[in-house]
Amino acid sequence: MNVLNRPGQCGTMESNDLMVQVAPAEQGSGIAITLVSPMIKQYGKQIEAVVKATLQEMGVADALVQVTDKGALDCTIRARVRVAAERAMQKEAN
């Protein structure tokens, strides 16, 4: 199990990208995702599923996640979430 120690962020607001912010959450509270996307009706559930699966693969069970999507592919979502979480796992800010 991996714990987030601090807020972490990755991505940009350019098209085809997304901005991911993750923050520590109380143990047992699960992964809570707030999503803003121009495609929320069509792909909202899919985006949330990719975010959640990526965090779970990394062993993160509890997190507050804010996603601002700009039309990113799943591979981009996975990369951005992974790095935001890795940054949040660091003990101190770089």
Binding site: C10, G11, E14, S15, N16, D17, A72, L73, D74, C75, T76, R78, A79, R80, R82, V83, E86, R87, N94
Partner: protein, 290 residues
């Protein structure tokens, strides 16, 4: 027939839009750059983005990654994150010695074993960007069977020479010539440096013609607009194609007759001419003209 690398296009590694469209422009190779195109604070995001893109997107061409040098704090991590996605080629910048190539070769070998990839399937190339690298170019090119090419990176090289870059490239004549010789001695391809002013088409055309004549196999490009120009210049003429076809036909006939000497239009055709004809037809085929 060896893989054509007339154009190797750099694509910034931390730009999802560019990564997802990189395959559509017709470059022989795309190079996802996690080195100079990525700021220090974004090295982690670029390498993961590149790895995910390679894993997910079906590119129609060779996919290379320019990693950071292993003497920086990023090079080993680049390899750790990117190798599991199985890029076709790893490009090392600032190569100075055969030892660096051997070390990376070892890391790639371990990754191929760990992830069940075909041994030797991940190739390598190195950019020569310093006088020391230039003097070791042949050893660098021969340091691993994975090595398929060496390239010159002019900006750093010229800074090291303590001169500036000019239109006619006179400051690079010796380096380019030496690099071609080193590559040919080692039996690898040789790729020229980027031409940074994408709006100077005339200057670009002149440079591509110059490096083709020197013996380069291709050029690094930084903009899709440069791809067609390079391919056109590397495209053999109708006359060359016709002559090459006749050379190969005569060669085939001589082989069938077990005849040692080949003659075409009363002139002797020997091995270098046959090799050149094969090369001309390979370029023609790559351009779809055969």
């Amino acid at each position: 027939m060896e893989k054509m690398r007339r154009t190797m296009m750099f694509v910034p590694g931390n730009n999802p839009g560019m990564l997802q469209n990189a395959g559509i422009y017709g470059a022989d190779t795309i190079i996802f750059d996690v080195e100079d195109a990525v700021s220090i604070g974004e090295k982690d995001s670029a390498r993961h983005l590149v790895a995910e893109a390679i894993r997910t997107i079906n590119y129609p061409c060779e996919v290379a990654v320019r990693i950071n040098h292993i003497s920086t704090p990023y090079g080993y991590k680049d390899l750790e994150v990117i190798l599991p996605s199985h890029p076709d080629l790893i490009r090392l910048p600032m190569a100075q010695s055969a030892d660096e190539i051997k070390e990376i070769d070892g890391i790639i070998t371990a990754a191929e074993e760990k992830y069940g990839f075909e041994p030797g399937s991940i190739k390598m190339m190195a950019a020569i960007e310093t006088p020391k690298g230039l003097f070791n170019a042949q050893a660098i090119a021969e340091a691993s069977p994975r090595m398929v090419a060496i390239a010159i990176g002019a900006e750093d090289f010229i800074a090291n020479l303590k001169t500036t870059r000019s239109k006619d490239g006179s400051e690079l004549v010796v380096a380019r010539g030496h690099l071609v010789l080193a590559a040919r001695a080692a039996g690898v391809q040789v790729i020229d440096t980027v031409f940074s002013d994408v709006n100077d088409e005339e200057g670009f055309i002149a440079e591509v013609k110059r490096i083709k004549q020197l013996g380069f196999d291709g050029k690094s490009v930084i903009n899709p607009r440069q791809i067609g120009i390079v391919h056109d210049i590397f495209m053999p003429t109708e006359k060359e194609i016709e002559f090459s076809k006749r050379v190969l036909a005569a060669f085939k006939e001589a082989l069938a007759k077990n005849s040692g000497v080949i003659s075409l239009d009363g002139k002797m055709i020997d091995k270098p001419i046959v090799d050149r004809a094969e090369r001309v037809l390979a370029y023609a085929e790559a351009a779809g003209a055969r």
